[in-house]
């Protein structure tokens, strides 16, 4: 009974750890899939920021709440960029894809950082203007996902 219980706990812990593993990428197709997932995740962060900025413009949310929402999406986008950037591209095509996507994400994270700074300074009226480029960037990310998913 005790041995069985120990094995079960070990199996569960192993399963939990396995879920967090990122294996090496050996083909363009797998790398492309990871790029699409990353783009999807950054697009989600950009859309969240746009929605929050719109709510700020209509005075529908408090400054503390908005500053937390915007800090979190900036961190998410940065985290996705870091994780994807750390994956070794397996070939030349993958390296090109990497350059293309990271350039796009850089532009998104720059806007998200500006939004976070403005929100923390209490400049809620400016958020919608600052967030304006996220519309076009979001569409580019969506096109990227469609092309590579």
């Amino acid at each position: 009974m005790r041995r069985g219980g120990g094995a079960l706990i070990l199996a569960v812990l192993l399963a939990v750890l396995l879920c967090a593993c990122v294996g090496p990428v050996r083909s363009f197709e797998v790398y492309e899939g990871k790029a699409a997932t990353t783009a999807e995740s950054v697009a989600s962060a950009a859309q969240t920021a746009r929605l929050a900025a719109g709510e700020a413009a209509d005075a529908r949310a408090f400054a503390p709440y908005l500053s937390i929402v915007l800090s979190e999406v900036e961190r998410d986008a940065g985290g996705s960029e870091d994780v994807f950037g750390a994956i070794q591209p397996p070939d030349g095509r993958s390296a090109e894809l990497r350059t293309q996507l990271l350039a796009l994400i850089d532009r998104v994270t720059a806007v998200l950082a500006d939004l976070r700074i403005a929100a923390r300074n209490g400049e809620l009226g400016r958020l919608e203007d600052i967030a304006a480029p996220l519309g076009e960037l979001g569409e580019q990310l969506a096109r990227f996902v469609e092309a590579h998913a």
């Binding site: 879920c19 999807e40 408090f62």
Partner: protein, 407 residues
């Protein structure tokens, strides 16, 4: 009015059990990714928890003893120990996540980092459990948690279209796999049938000194409280399905749960929501901390409960204090509270039969329940659910590995 206050045990259990930090995120995430395509999993879970919580409450009211106490006596120390280990570990993870959930709600209201709130929240949870009485505690947090009805008002204002249609056509959308869809179904089912709910409910029945004469109140608690919790979960799912899904937003944080409400109702709605989240997560933290104390004390035969003074139940209060303190410390390591909750829900799903099978056995024992044992219909439904619980428990871990935790 008296009847209304009597059902607050069920409301607190339901809101704490259904709409805690894990459910807030799981239901919001499900709505954003699958619209209402997984609403059925909540409905199936609600029926299951109603059947088993009714059994647990009836056992406590008729025998005057909580379920866990009888499980140990009826099925022996080994079976009860397996039950205790599984439920206590999951319960502890849930408690830690709830403490972080309260801190996150305070962070959203103040923009002060949630890690700074955690020691204060853990101390407050312990203080309420040490000093507060059971009945006022359940009423305050149960009723404040009803502020989450704001999800329904927000949904009304958002004029959703196609929600019912998406609920009627289960299955993954084109950009999601069947594996991910089933993983989320299992997670929602596990969240709905969280084991601590029945332990808290049956021990709470003893705390409130229910007897055979209170069986109608017990049924009202179950039949109103748990479906109410399930309805709130579905309303929350509906708000994110309406606002976040069309924008391609996936839910990663508690803060995103507020976006649809703010869009629909503005600052007032957002303020009400934050109060509701605070109350629901704080109520769930109290429930899980108490459940930890209940299960350990009942297994070892120690004096337990809030119905006696703390100096009469020192070991029970020590377990509660240690669980709360260690839960706070775990979250101070900056581990992602949402991930902790998601794992606790999935692990709960894997351990469900260990919790519910002994309840079914005890609820059929005439030595404890006399003529109040399960009827044929209850047994038939409960047996079907037991089969479902075994399937869910078997599938949970493989699905988690296969889908990388629903990523």
């Amino acid at each position: 009015m008296k009847r209304f206050t009597e059902i607050t045990l069920g409301i607190l259990t339901a809101i704490g059990g259904f709409v805690d930090i894990g459910d807030l995120v799981a239901n919001a995430e499900t709505g954003a990714r699958f619209r209402m395509g997984l609403a059925w999993a909540v409905v199936v879970g609600v029926v299951g928890i109603v059947v088993y919580a009714e059994m647990a409450g009836r056992v406590a009211a008729v025998s005057g003893r909580p379920v866990f106490d009888l499980v140990r006596e009826r099925l022996g120390a080994r079976v009860a120990l397996a039950n205790l280990l599984a439920s206590f570990f999951i319960n502890f993870l849930t408690l830690a996540a709830e403490i972080a959930g309260v801190a996150l709600a305070l962070e959203l209201a103040s923009s002060v980092n949630y890690l700074l709130w955690i020691p204060l929240v853990a101390a407050l949870v312990w203080l309420v459990l040490w000093r507060g009485s059971f009945v006022p505690m359940e009423r305050v947090f149960g009723l404040l948690g009803l502020a989450l009805v704001v999800f329904g008002v927000a949904l009304w204002h958002l004029h959703p279209e196609g929600l019912l249609a998406s609920a009627m056509h289960p299955g993954p959308p084109t950009n999601e796999s069947w594996g991910t869809y089933l993983f989320f179904a299992v997670a929602l089912f596990g969240a709905t049938m969280t084991p601590y709910e029945v332990f808290f409910f049956s021990s709470g029945a003893v705390e409130e000194r229910w007897t055979r004469r209170d069986l109608n109140v017990e049924r009202a608690n179950v039949l109103i409280g748990f479906p109410l919790g399930g309805a709130l979960s579905l309303l929350l799912m509906g708000t994110t399905a309406t606002v976040l899904a069309p924008r391609g937003i996936t839910v990663e944080h508690l803060s995103q749960v507020g976006l649809p409400v703010a869009l629909a109702l503005g600052k007032v709605g957002l303020a009400v929501l934050l109060v509701g989240i605070f109350a629901a997560t704080f109520g769930a933290a109290l429930e899980t901390a108490l459940s930890g104390g209940y299960t350990v004390s009942q297994y070892f035969g120690w004096q337990w409960g809030k119905f006696v003074r703390p100096n009469k139940a020192p070991r029970f209060h020590l377990v509660v204090l240690l669980a709360t303190g260690l839960g706070g410390l775990l979250m101070l390591t900056a581990v992602d509270p949402i991930k902790v909750t998601e794992y606790s829900i999935v692990l709960a799903a894997a351990a469900l039969p260990l919790t519910y099978f002994p309840i079914l056995i005890v609820a059929n024992d005439r030595d404890y329940l006399g003529d109040r044992v399960n009827g044929r219909v209850t047994n038939a439904i409960a047996t079907v659910y037991l089969g479902l619980l075994v399937v869910v428990a078997t599938a949970t871990i493989p699905l988690m590995i296969m889908t990388k935790g629903g990523a």
